[in-house]
Subunit: 370 residues, 2 copies
């Protein structure tokens, strides 16, 4: 699991002219490798200095620069790769990480173990978009959450995940919740005649997550959900290596990296390429037109990054939440097409005829777009 000899990372720099952009690119190459004046670097470490390979004006005042890093600065450590890509540079305005070579990702990270294909096989649906809902709110007991889950399953929903705020609170301890929900879903499936997959939220300390991952698998859950920007991305890749359950990644606490226009990490790079490399099989992020900050173009770009293969890594599912209702599904299915999971929450809970009917109605609509 050694790193390749070198790898290239790509950044966008906001600069008013070429000389300012050159200065920024050079600063990134030094900051992210030796972090000291190049003249002061001892001869035995000069091989560690990164190098600016290209610099072109991409849009007005946005300069695209490729920087070549020595693989020995990373040496197979997933967190050190993030550190080299964007550690201190995260503290600078006007610099955005937009890409990195597939090869280094393929070499030191597990990638998705299931991906779109694996999740489709588990749920038994090949030719249409998938539906997903969230069990909520915090405060309900395992039995109350399980009742909802059973109704969603009876209505034929494809995926159910925990709300990202459900961890291991006294009101709904993880082990009890998973058992109750799995049982209710398996009963609901008898009525719908199809599979419903359950992804409980295992986020917690690394130790708790390893334990909850096993509880989930042993209790018959079909996947797990992780909040990698709270747990740390390293835990996600470790659990992916077990190759036991698909992983759905959720963007809680990740927003600051992606929502500014001119610094941070490009949303497709983070939610698509990096999460995929760290082992996510499905990536939750906010749809446009809802209560969050992305435009439709940005969502399309993140979708594209999820659905790409990256070298050896297969495509993963975009899971779009926010602003999706039974009433406007046409528009979103048209826009985002079939390799999408549509996450629908409030709109199923609020239906006057109850969650089972609401789900059936949503599901029939989704199935009509084959």
């Amino acid at each position: 699991m050694n790193s390749p000899e070198t790898f290239i990372a790509t950044y966008h720099c906001k600069a008013s002219d070429r000389s300012e952009a050159e200065e920024m690119a050079l600063a990134i190459s030094i900051e992210q490798s030796v972090e000291m004046p190049p003249d002061a670097v001892p001869s035995t470490a000069r091989h560690s200095i990164a190098e600016v390979v290209s610099l072109v004006e991409k849009d007005q005042q946005i300069w695209r620069t490729e920087i070549r890093f020595p693989g020995s600065t990373v040496d197979g450590d997933p967190l050190q790769l993030l550190n080299i890509l964007f550690g201190n540079t995260s503290l600078k305005r006007g610099v955005r990480l937009v890409d990195v070579d597939n090869q280094i990702l393929n070499t030191i990270l597990p990638g998705p173990q299931f991906g779109i294909k694996g999740i489709r096989n588990l749920v038994g649906v090949q030719n249409r978009a998938l539906s997903c809902t969230a069990l909520k709110p915090i405060g309900l007991s395992p039995d109350e959450l399980a009742q909802f889950a059973g109704k969603f399953a009876a209505g034929g929903i494809d995926l159910i995940k925990d709300d990202h705020g459900l961890l291991n609170q006294q009101s709904s301890p993880f082990r009890d919740r998973v058992k109750a929900v799995v049982t209710a879903i398996r009963e609901g499936e008898q009525k719908s005649g199809k599979r419903t997959l359950y992804f409980p939220n295992i986020t917690g300390s690394a130790l708790a997550m390893a334990e909850r991952f096993n509880i989930a698998a042993d209790s018959g859950a079909d996947g797990v959900m992780i909040l990698p920007h709270l747990s740390g991305l390293s835990v996600m890749q470790e659990l992916a290596r077990k190759h036991r359950l698909p992983i759905m990644a959720h963007p809680a606490f990740a927003g600051a990296h992606v929502i500014a226009e001119d610094h941070g990490i490009a949303p497709g790079m983070l939610f698509g390429k990096l999460w995929k490399s760290f082992g996510a099989d499905a990536a939750v992020y906010p749809n446009s037109g809802g209560r969050f900050s992305f435009s439709t173009e940005q969502v399309q770009e993140i979708n594209r990054c999820c659905r790409q293969t990256n070298g050896e890594f297969p495509p993963i599912f975009p899971v779009l939440g926010g602003g999706i209702q039974r009433s406007n599904l046409d528009k979103w299915v048209d826009l985002y097409e079939k390799d999408t999971v549509f996450l629908i929450g409030g709109s199923l809970y609020e239906h006057p005829d109850g969650p089972e009917s609401a789900t059936r109605e949503f599901q029939q609509k989704l199935e009509s777009y084959v």
Copy 2:
């Protein structure tokens, strides 16, 4: 370690008038608690809904709102506290987390185990600012890094930390580096006649960090450095609870949270209050006037947050890096006063008479400001 019955978090919302601000505050209270339309919340979970307590215009178009959360939504889980404070809201523009009650922090987090007082006692310096430098660059061997360390110690430096890019690369494996550097520092102390503390960088997977923490302690290191936004903040609080070595937190990969003006987390809240609560005894962050993005006013505010007591938690050291040179130290000591650690890097490595003389010169200057 139960949570208090309720706790209050404070946010700044960017809004053009009161009605927009009211809408934003209400949206935070729902998003960060039940995350569904309040009318759809079942009666048995209505106690989970957070409540807007106050809303005042603080500056032009910046509204300060206090939101009261039920403690049962957190239930003693440190990551769930972050999730409740800023999980999904991190994905919204115009909202900034600026404060949270001391009580909930004091109840569920360890806080600093050493703080300013503990570090001063370890280094034996009570009445002046402290000096710190970083061992670098990546690519040097343990022996080469140890040679530098020995010279810095002989010159009388107070603290030495690893560069944040030194983890466990083949060029400098963690265990070998710590042993070599500790030995060299203890020799250097013979010449200087004073203590020099060493903080190796233990960042890695949770398992690797627990192991490296013990290696550091058993090898005679005086503290550890952690990159909590790469490792996950949870590991830091777990290691703090061991009460064995002081912890220096470093901001790699944390920048996006703090550098925008109108979203994310206020820098003093993150680097001061939150890091302190999660167990940091010293907080590294970028000085103004250097190559990073903070103003002097922002640095003063972060310093203030580090040096405050927060309920039961004692003050911690701000460690200011970037732009500090032997030649401009006067200015910074005047500005930031004695409860500060000044991190000086390149300027010691570049000195024509070598690192030992450079350190001695810097140290004498620092000691003259008592």
